[in-house]
């Protein structure tokens, strides 16, 4: 009895400590993490939660309207953005350079996930399980290249065209 209550007390203290110790900083105050020297420890989410969360990623894009057929103007603009800001790390084939090759990316990821990853890079790398898995593979955090929403959308169109969408 006595021992049990002690245990309970210990558990309560542990909880308290945990509660205090892990009080997260307000997200807005926290500087966008790091230059990848210090690997952020990913909080391992439950598989179910991960599956639900990762489909669209984290960010402001919750639904992206796709064009049919593809918008040629967007593709041209996306291509020029790719050449200045993305080509340093991403090939158009499936081969990894610094980051993964783009072939098939629009099959693997939802358009929202891609848009969120491009525009909300740091939070995605810190929180999204799929993005974290990629970081472990590539060992370089994707630089936030500060694409505008339009530029990101155009790059997505270029990716779709690269994947043979019509």
């Amino acid at each position: 009895m006595k021992q049990a209550s002690l245990l309970t007390a210990a558990a309560a203290i542990a909880l308290l400590l945990y509660g205090c110790g892990s009080t997260p900083q307000a997200d807005t105050e926290k500087p966008a993490a790091d230059n990848s020297m210090a690997a952020t420890t990913p909080a391992t989410p439950t598989p179910a939660a991960a599956a639900a969360a990762d489909a669209k990623g984290k960010g402001k894009f919750t639904s992206v309207a796709l064009t049919d057929p593809l918008d040629q103007k967007m593709i041209a603009s996306g291509k020029s953005t790719y050449e200045v800001k993305c080509a340093a790390c991403h090939k158009l084939t499936g081969d990894k350079l610094v980051g993964p090759g783009w072939k098939g990316v629009t099959e693997r990821r939802k358009p929202e996930w891609i848009m969120n990853f491009i525009t909300n890079t740091d939070e995605m790398i810190d929180k999204d399980p799929a993005a974290q898995a990629m970081l472990e593979e590539c060992m370089v955090r994707m630089p936030n290249q500060h694409l505008t929403d339009d530029e990101a959308r155009h790059v997505l169109e270029y990716m779709r065209s690269n994947d043979g969408k019509k």
Binding site: V98, V140, P143, Q145
Partner: protein, 657 residues
């Protein structure tokens, strides 16, 4: 018995005397809660940006207050190998003068731009003392944007003080020199040597400087300066010494007279005279260097003419006010009414009244002239004298609550006194030999009355010793109460000569975080890796290179020969805050580059020996930073090696001849 009592009496008297003039020790000067007043927790920001001159270091350093943490060193008048300032092809022109690139200067005073007598957080002006120059630093990027050389001047000490709408920046001569480049005997000082007060106009929108006119004054030493404000808005005041016009052993010969002068200049009148053609355009060469943000490149223009105004031709433009004795500081209170002259060899502080001065001018209360310039009667312009303030009064700042604070160089203390009745209110020790003082906004119409910083010349025993050469120091005082309280001292970079400070909120949110790569207008930009290239023209080789975490393109270059001039134009493709890349190549007798996100910077390399020269990114930018490197092969002149470059398997190609 008699003898003993005499001795005892003497001892007591001596002890009493020693007590009364003995300084408080550091232990008694600092109270227990000092640390909590200066502690800024990790992750929290300081309240105030403090811009401190680097003195003989030629740069400006930026500290946070109240923590005293060093935030940045801005290279201005000295080359800086840390980021390639003055070494890169883009910035060499910033340090150009009519005597070629001068890689060093002595940076003495700073002034933050103002609108209506209040700080506006746009620009910071800095002077170079030795080879007279004035610089403008942009406070969105903390970069030196412009440097203007000043002709007909030497020892640019009373500079760069500004008018209250930043209409003008001044540059006053400390060492008189002949105008132009005449060869004259030094002993003809009185006839041939002059001091000049240069007025540099500042464009309201761009900040661009232009040497508007110079006022030619008798040969003497102009020391410090400040613009009037409010009612005295139209005036500028300079302190002077060596009105004896000595030219040798000044420490004796320039201290003969009881009084030197405060030179009062009506710059509005001067401006009118300049516009009315009363000046004389004379040949004078000086460099005007500007950094073009779009092209990310500085250019240097040599100008050939300057407009001189002679007080003889411009009545009511300049007056002299007698001021005891070898005055240093010349400081105007927030109301614009009081002009405080600090005679560094005087045992008092004279305070002049602007309204009395104008009345004296109107009533022609003069006591003669100095080389044709009317001298106002001392008593006619005097508001009063602060008696026995301390030894060696140098420089005064104001708290906006009717109090003045004067640094005492000889007695190493700060003395607080009242402008109204000129009574000493408080004194605190400094450690040691304080020069300038600074209260944030303390020379504007709206001082912040919370902190005062003393910038000291001597630091012995303050910090861990580092051989004969010690860091100099700044000391922070809480002046919010009746009594000043020392709360922190911290070592400084270079000689902390004068300083300016403002609320962080005025500047913090305007910071540029990265340069938009799409707006990069550099002549040698590489817009994406696809455009990376190597181009040979004669023995000049231009390498268009990109940097991004974690590789350089190209990273293999061959077909370069001994005697070539190789230019690495490195474009940082990153578009993220705080991700510069570095660039350095083995055995280059130059410096490294530090290239900000979205920027292009050029390093010149002229290999004089064959070999393999590794190059690499010097900034630890990512987990694969160590891998961010490449090789340049330099072959003997005339060798049969084709020009070839590439990175990985993607871009290897033979360059077009």
């Amino acid at each position: 018995m008699k003898r003993l009592s005499l001795m005892l009496g003497l001892a007591v008297a001596t002890t009493a005397a020693m007590q009364s003039c003995k300084m408080k020790t550091a232990a008694t000067a600092v109270q227990g809660d000092a640390a909590s007043k200066t502690y800024v927790a990790p992750g929290k920001y300081d309240e105030i940006y403090n811009f401190v001159s680097g003195g003989f270091n030629g740069q400006v350093s930026v500290y946070g207050l109240p923590s005293g943490r060093l935030l940045k060193v801005i290279p201005v008048f000295a080359v800086n190998p840390e980021n390639g300032y003055g070494y890169s092809e883009e910035t060499k022109a910033m340090l150009n003068t009519t005597n070629g690139l001068i890689p060093w200067d002595d940076q003495h005073h700073l002034d933050l731009s103002q609108t209506n007598g209040e700080q506006d957080g746009r620009w910071l002006f800095a002077n170079a003392n030795n080879t007279p120059r004035v610089a403008r630093i942009d406070l969105t990027t903390f970069k030196t944007m412009e440097i203007l050389q000043i002709p007909n001047s030497a020892g640019n000490h009373s500079s760069p003080f500004i008018t209250e709408n930043t209409e003008y920046v001044v540059a006053g001569t400390r060492f008189s020199v002949p105008l132009g480049s005449e060869d004259v005997p030094i002993s003809s000082f009185k006839d041939n040597f002059h001091s000049t007060a240069s007025f540099i106009s500042v464009d309201k929108n761009s900040g661009k400087m232009d040497l508007a006119f110079q006022i030619v004054l008798p040969g003497m030493n102009l020391d410090l300066s400040h613009a009037g404000k409010g009612p005295s808005h139209d005036w500028f005041f300079f302190s002077s010494y060596n009105t004896e016009q000595a030219y040798t052993l000044l420490e004796v010969n320039a201290s003969q007279k009881d009084k030197d002068y405060i030179v009062a200049v009506n710059w509005k009148k001067a401006e009118e005279y300049a516009k009315a053609g009363k000046g004389k355009k004379v040949p004078a060469t000086y460099a005007h260097n500007t950094y073009d943000e779009h092209k990310q490149t500085a250019t240097s223009e040599i100008k050939n003419e300057v407009l001189l105004l002679d007080p003889k031709d411009c009545p009511d433009m300049v007056y002299m006010i007698p001021c005891p004795k070898s005055p240093h500081g010349c400081d105007i209170d927030p109301s614009g009414e009081y002009i405080v002259g600090s005679g560094k060899l005087a045992a008092l502080i004279p305070v002049f009244s602007f309204s009395k001065m104008t009345k004296a001018i109107a009533g022609k209360q003069f006591e003669g002239d100095f080389k044709g310039i009317p001298i106002i009667k001392y008593e006619a312009a005097l508001h009063g004298e602060v008696q026995k303030p301390g030894l060696g009064p140098l420089h005064t700042e104001f708290d906006g609550k009717g109090n003045a604070y004067t640094s005492m160089f000889l007695s190493s203390e700060v003395v607080k006194w009242s402008l109204k009745d000129l009574q000493v209110l408080d004194r605190v020790p400094t450690y040691y030999s304080v020069g300038h003082l600074m209260i944030p906004g303390g020379d504007t119409r709206k001082p912040g009355g919370k902190y005062l910083v003393a910038y000291n010349k001597i630091t012995k025993d303050r910090f861990l010793p580092t051989g004969p050469e010690l860091a100099q120091s700044a000391q922070l005082y809480d002046i919010s109460g009746d009594k000043m309280q020392l709360i922190l001292d911290f070592p400084t970079f270079g000689e902390p000569h004068y300083a300016q400070a403002c609320q962080a909120s005025l500047i913090k949110d305007k910071q540029v975080k990265y340069y938009d790569i799409n707006k990069n207008g550099h002549d040698y930009v590489t817009m994406g890796e696809k455009k990376a290239n190597v181009v040979r023209k004669g023995n000049r080789v231009d390498i268009y290179m990109t940097a991004i975490r974690s590789h350089l393109v190209p990273d293999n270059i061959e077909g370069v020969f001994v005697g070539d001039e190789v230019y690495f134009h490195v474009t940082n493709l990153e578009q993220d805050w705080d991700i510069p890349h570095g660039f350095a190549i083995k055995n280059n007798p130059n410096a490294e580059l530090l290239i900000m996100p979205g920027e292009t910077v050029t390093l010149k390399f002229s290999p004089d020996k064959q070999g393999i020269y590794p190059f690499y990114c010097t900034d630890f930018c990512s987990a694969l930073h160590q891998e961010m490197s490449g090789y340049l092969r330099v072959s003997p002149k005339g060798a049969n090696v084709p020009l070839k470059f590439g990175t990985g398997e993607t871009v290897t190609s033979v360059a077009a001849k």
